[in-house]
């Protein structure tokens, strides 16, 4: 019974801290655990991907501006 108490406390804490206010379906603790477990890598990959896309966009804009300037200069 004593060893079960911390587990009950932790599970209770998880439910209190993470359950959405109006959830009516069982989100499944396995689905929650997996999201918590993968949160770091998901956030890192997403951030890197977003930054990469931004970098590509900026580079494309710079190249386009450079080419445009070159054409005007030639014209």
């Amino acid at each position: 019974m004593q060893t079960a108490m911390p587990i009950v406390f932790i599970v209770g804490l998880l439910i209190i801290t993470s359950a959405p206010a109006h959830a009516y379906i069982d989100p499944g603790s396995g689905s929650y655990m997996l999201q918590i477990g993968l949160a770091g890598i998901l956030a890192a990959v997403f951030t890197l991907k977003t930054q990469w896309h931004r970098l590509r966009e900026r580079t494309a804009v710079m190249i386009a501006a450079h080419n445009h300037g070159k054409k005007r200069h030639q014209g």
Partner: protein, 477 residues
């Protein structure tokens, strides 16, 4: 005055759907008031409705409520035909999945999120997936995992992965598992190579394993106090979207996908049949608004009905034919045709709680008119269904019927009989007419030029005659 609560609308205490005098309403309960106001006040409703992703509604007087204390009563725009995920082809399920993820991403940007991600919350309207559950949105709590992640994977990713990586027919598992296919089962059915795909590894294999170990106190202890950032949720959605976009299916090698290439119709006969079907549709009065094309294949005759302004459900047993029809409709912008998978030898039954949550095929009818072209011989000879039983079923399905009789001398019927004994003595034109006579009044008959086939325009008799016919229905063989 008739009032009835939708039997599928009982899980979420935020509200429910009901019909009053045939009009659909959604009652919002006070407990959902805060989230409903946020949905509208944040601009999310307008954004999603303007982009066609969320069904529009108008608020009506609260006196329309069917129980006291309603927060609001909404009248959503009607959906012409309710279909279910186990009736969708691969690309329809994929489009519905991507629409759900797009909605969740957009919602997060406005401080809300989807609290459920059921595939049954999506319907196809004018050829596009539309989310129909206005009460699925809730305030996003910073740090909270996505409560609907498990449901999304069971309802969308799991069947798509099975259809793409194992067999298209495994989409039918959705009919067995009404809240989505269990992930541990999907993990067992997928080939081992699916673990090399990072998305399937995470969202199916690891996810299924995590669900199995959910009672593991050690795992919970290690995760205690940790939250999931908004960036991680966006990463999760991005990963799901990327995984789903890469799942594909090429409709090849199934039974009917090349049917029109293998028919015995000459171009002239096909054109004559198209003309006759059009004329018969024009003779239906009042003009049919809802048409079911049973055995539609890739929808050549569905288009004849759609051109006349009808909303057509193009049913076919072959997922390849339905896939081709859907992709063609999507490409051409055809908004009046809804291609769906249906095995008429075992039509969609009532499913879910009390067998009432998901309605059977016939409960969603009758259609104003039914097309049954090049179909009856498949049911009567291919599946041994007696002709009177075919007639009875078609009478239940529609008020008017355009049906084709294909005689035994036709090469398509000969093909069906090639590898089996002919036990179908009653399968003659006379037997056909005698079987349909108790259920339908014949309005017009016509032979298709350049073929041995005939078309019949029939009007269903009133139900009393139909019930009498049912009790005394003889078997022809």
């Amino acid at each position: 005055m008739s009032v009835s609560v939708d039997p599928a609308s009982f899980r979420d205490p935020s509200g429910f759907v009901f019909r009053r005098d045939g009009v659909l309403y959604r009652q919002v309960q006070p407990r959902y008031g805060r989230d409903y106001d946020l949905l509208l006040g944040s601009g999310l409703y307008d954004t999603l409705a303007d982009s066609g992703l969320l069904v529009r509604h108008r608020e009506v007087d609260a006196s329309a409520a069917i129980s006291p204390g309603a927060y609001r009563v909404l009248e959503p725009e009607p959906v012409p035909f309710i279909s279910y995920p186990y009736e969708w082809c691969f690309s329809q399920l994929k489009d519905a999945a991507l629409a759900t993820l797009q909605i969740q991403k957009t919602a997060l940007g406005r401080g809300l999120g989807l609290k459920d991600a059921s595939a049954y919350n999506v319907q196809f309207v004018a050829g596009r997936p539309v989310f129909i559950d206005t009460l699925s949105f809730e305030r996003y709590e910073e740090g909270a995992p996505w409560a609907a992640y498990g449901q999304f994977c069971r309802h969308f990713l799991a069947p798509l992965a099975l259809m793409s990586r194992v067999d298209i027919r495994q989409g039918q598992l959705l009919r067995l598992y009404v809240d989505g296919i269990p992930l541990d089962l999907v993990a067992r059915l997928l080939p081992g190579s699916s673990k090399l795909n990072p998305g399937l590894l995470a969202h199916i294999h690891l996810h299924g394993g995590a669900q199995k170990r959910c009672g593991d106190g050690e795992a919970q202890r290690r995760s205690a106090g940790r939250t999931v950032s908004r960036t991680a949720i966006l990463g999760l959605l991005d990963s799901l979207e990327g995984t789903i976009r890469k799942l594909n299916w090429q409709p090849e090698g199934t039974e009917w996908a090349d049917y029109y290439g293998h028919t015995n119709y000459t171009d002239a006969a096909m054109e004559d049949k198209r003309r006759l079907v059009g004329e018969m549709l024009d003779a239906v009065s009042p003009a049919p608004r809802a048409v079911w094309d049973l055995g539609a294949n890739t929808g050549a005759f569905s288009r004849v009905a759609a051109e006349r302004g009808a909303d057509v459900v193009a049913w076919d047993v072959d997922p390849a034919a339905v896939e081709r029809n859907y992709l063609e409709c999507r490409k051409s912008g055809a908004t009046r045709i809804l291609p769906l998978v249906q095995d008429l030898t075992s039509p969609s039954p009532g499913l879910g709680w009390a067998s009432e949550e998901r309605r059977s095929l016939l409960q969603r009818g009758p259609a104003d008119a039914v097309l049954a072209l090049a179909l009856v011989h498949h049911l009567a000879i291919g599946n041994n269904v007696p002709l009177p039983a075919v007639a009875r079923f078609l009478q239940d399905a529609g008020k008017w019927l355009i049906v084709e009789f294909v005689p035994k001398s036709d090469s398509q019927v000969r093909r069906l009989l090639a590898s089996r004994p002919d036990v179908f003595d009653g399968y003659t034109r006379e037997g056909f007419e005698a079987a349909f006579e108790p259920h339908f009044e014949t309005v017009r008959t016509a032979d298709v030029a350049g073929s041995q086939r005939s078309l019949f325009l029939l009007r269903a008799r009133p139900m009393a005659a139909h019930i009498e016919g049912r009790d005394s229905a003889p078997h022809f063989n």
